[in-house]
């Protein structure tokens, strides 16, 4: 029983938009996954379904990696961990944080699979220093559409390796990967909060903290005028044993997973998300943050890296029509003006998420990895009649500044926007042609964008 199909079903990404019909296959072993891949076309792999839009939905069939959830081996001497592609970051941290290891790169949720993290080359709050998830990948085993299984690393099948990092599952299906874990003295973070009165101040702060491991700014999207872009900037380092003994002598060095207690009910009343309640929330949020200014404190790794994971199914607050998470990156030299323009339009439109995230990124790894040296801004928008025309206007600003949109979040950008942002596209297409992936592997995202 190494294979089982679940059959035709409606699938969507984390944003609940779009929702499309596909055949969903649920193999229970890597060999079973390969067999499905060999027998299908219009197919793509899907991990935990945490890509927001249509990246992990095959035009005909979708192969879930959730059954590929076994860890293979760990070598403490080299800190190298080999896992099947459906193992999640949460699984890895639950098993290895107590043993003094962490992942050097984690995205904003721990509920993504390793296969998904590689395919989207996800980034964390340290991208400006440590690069994306690609940088902790030693090697992986990739099933090609012809059924062949190849090992890829920086020295073996290097071109395929680079195309698969951030390649959105369009080169083959990752079955297994070897990652390098990060030894840590404690699992706590030493966090320092700074208040930035506007966007310029936030960017100044991020720029001057480039040597800090983790940095991120939370922007109050409701602030306008002179306060446009007012932010709390969070800076953090892994706490050493000495930091912990000074700041929290009674705390366990490796406190384990902090389990979630909250969850959003299926029918979240939309009226709770109105401007008045958001404004009140943001005011509280900023006052609380500002009160921490200048005080270095220890923060648990789970809420530090994964604040929204504490609220299960938070995507439901946007209701049945779903939402779009808009994430762009603007090259560093154009960032201040373009981001101010975007934020101004967003604050005047008024229905974006009340908080946005601003972060400095470093250089890219894969052929179509999202990051480039510059600033990335992330906001949620509920899907409405007028939303897509509005986002097209933002796209024009992004394109004009030489920026691009994150494919793992995208559900609606145009081909023109995509092509102008991703110069590595031609090289990816070549590789897809060589492996036969171009005629066999397609997601709704790749079909929409002509990859």
């Amino acid at each position: 029983m190494s294979n089982s199909g679940v059959g035709a079903c409606g699938l969507s990404g984390w944003g609940n938009y779009p929702r499309v019909s596909t055949e969903l296959l649920a193999p229970q072993t890597p060999a079973g996954a390969r067999d499905h891949l060999l027998a299908r076309s219009g197919v793509v792999a899907r991990g935990a379904g945490r890509a927001y839009g249509d990246a992990a939905i095959g035009t005909q069939s979708t192969i879930s990696s959730r059954g590929l959830n076994r860890m293979r081996s760990f070598d403490a001497a080299t800190a190298q961990l080999t896992v099947e592609a459906g193992v999640t970051i949460a699984d890895i941290l639950a098993a290895f944080e107590p043993r003094g290891f962490f992942l050097k790169v984690v995205p904003g949720t721990k509920f993504v699979t390793v296969g998904g993290a590689i395919a989207a080359d996800v980034h964390g709050k340290n991208h400006h220093r440590d690069g994306g998830f690609a940088n902790i990948v030693v090697s992986f085993r990739l099933a090609l559409p012809g059924g062949e299984i190849v090992t890829c690393s920086r020295s073996e099948n290097a071109a395929l390796f680079a195309a698969t990092l951030g390649g959105m599952g369009l080169t083959g299906m990752i079955l297994e990967a070897t990652l390098r874990l990060l030894p840590i003295e404690t699992a706590w973070l030493r966090q320092d909060t700074r208040v930035a009165g506007n966007l310029d101040a936030a960017i100044d702060q991020l720029e001057s903290s480039e040597s800090t491991t983790y940095s991120v700014a939370w922007i109050d999207c409701l602030a306008r005028g002179a306060a446009l872009g007012r932010s709390l900037v969070y800076l953090a380092e892994h706490a050493t044993r000495r930091d912990k003994d000074m700041l929290g002598p009674d705390l366990a060095p490796f406190p384990g997973v902090r389990t979630s207690r909250l969850s959003v009910p299926e029918l979240f009343p939309g009226w709770l998300l109105n401007r008045a309640s958001m404004r009140a929330f943001n005011e509280l949020y900023f006052r609380r943050g500002a009160a921490h200014q200048g005080k270095v404190r220890l923060v648990h790794w789970d809420p530090y890296f994964f604040p929204l994971d504490a609220i299960a199914d938070w995507n439901r607050i946007y209701g049945r029509r779903g939402f779009v998470q808009y994430q762009c990156v603007i090259p560093q030299d154009r960032a201040r003006r373009t981001l101010a323009d975007i934020l101004d339009r967003v604050s005047r439109r008024g229905d974006a998420s009340f908080l946005a995230v601003l972060k400095l990124l470093g250089d890219a790894s894969g052929l179509i990895s999202f990051p480039l040296r510059g600033y990335t801004l992330t906001m949620d928008f509920p899907v409405t009649e007028t939303l897509f025309a509005f986002l097209d206007q933002l796209d024009a600003l992004v394109v004009d500044a030489g920026g691009r949109l994150y494919l793992a979040k995208d559900a609606r950008q145009s081909r023109a926007t995509f092509e102008s942002g991703y110069p590595g596209l031609a090289a990816l297409r070549d590789i897809r042609q060589q492996t036969g992936a171009n005629t066999r592997l397609s997601s709704h995202l790749s079909a929409r964008l002509g990859i």
Binding site: M1, S4, G5, V6, A26, Q28, T29, R70, M71, R72, S73, F74, L81, T82, V83, D91, A95, R99
Partner: protein
């Protein structure tokens, strides 16, 4: 690793077997997985070793070869502290109605073979003076239904076997027997079925409840999910003239 406890899981290639072994391994128990499909058992053992850092080994065993069971028990390098038997096969009820060989396999897999094997462990545990036997049966054994009565009948037999064994061993009070009755569990065995979400649990839940019933808060019979106890009590209370016309 002397002094640590050990668990043997029969049916170590299954999802519930895997989850159960992992739960014990997280508490430092050494794990042995016995299965017919050694490759699948090895995949589970590798996972358990990697996640928990404890020793996890595999043993080949085809429980249907009942003549070899005594040799298997005698050949173990050490007798485990707990044995968990999750051997089971749902089988295709419709086919079994016209295929006596399949019907026989379903009944042997779910009743005959596990019972013969656990009797051997009961005797070995008695001789040692300690041990826990966990038998994973099913709520399907509580009442015969049209959709799976070969499976259900065999599980009913297994539940009664465990009940009788417990009764026999309780007098001496050294060896415990735990009957586990899962309802709907999301596993390879049920991957093709539509299961009612409020009554369906993940294999982790079964593993957690087994560990509790064995180690933390000793119990004789457990239902997983627990609310299945109520469901089955109601189903068992229906008079046969009513039940026979129902399709549940």
């Amino acid at each position: 690793m002397t002094g640590t406890k050990s668990i043997l899981v029969i049916g170590g290639s299954s999802d519930i077997g895997h989850a159960t072994a992992l739960r014990y391994a997280r508490e430092g128990w050494r794990v042995t997985l016995a299965a017919r499909d050694l490759e699948a058992a090895q995949r589970n053992a590798d996972d358990i070793r990697t996640r928990s850092g404890v020793e996890a080994t595999v043993q080949a065993l085809d429980v249907l070869q009942t003549g070899q069971l005594a040799g298997f028990v005698a050949g173990l390098s050490a007798l485990p502290d707990t044995i968990v038997c999750v051997v089971g096969e749902l089988g295709d009820q419709l086919r079994a109605q016209t295929d006596p060989e399949l019907a026989t396999t379903i009944m042997r897999t779910n009743f005959e073979a596990p019972s013969l094997l656990l009797e051997l462990f009961a005797q070995a545990f008695e001789a040692r003076g300690s041990g826990t036997i966990v038998g994973v049966s099913s709520v399907a054994g509580d009442r015969g239904r049209a959709s799976n009565y070969y499976y259900g009948a065999a599980k009913a037999g297994f539940s009664q076997f465990l009940s009788g064994l417990r009764n026999r061993l309780a007098l001496a009070g050294k060896v415990r027997v735990v009957t586990v009755k899962p309802g709907f569990v999301r596993t390879k065995m049920t991957a093709h079925m539509k299961l009612p979400a409020p009554l369906t649990v993940q294999p982790d839940r079964v593993a957690e409840d087994i560990f509790r019933a064995d180690v933390m808060k000793p119990r004789d019979v457990i239902y997983v999910a627990r609310r299945f106890w109520l469901v089955m009590t109601i189903i068992c209370a229906l008079p046969e003239p009513v039940f026979k016309r129902m399709r549940i």
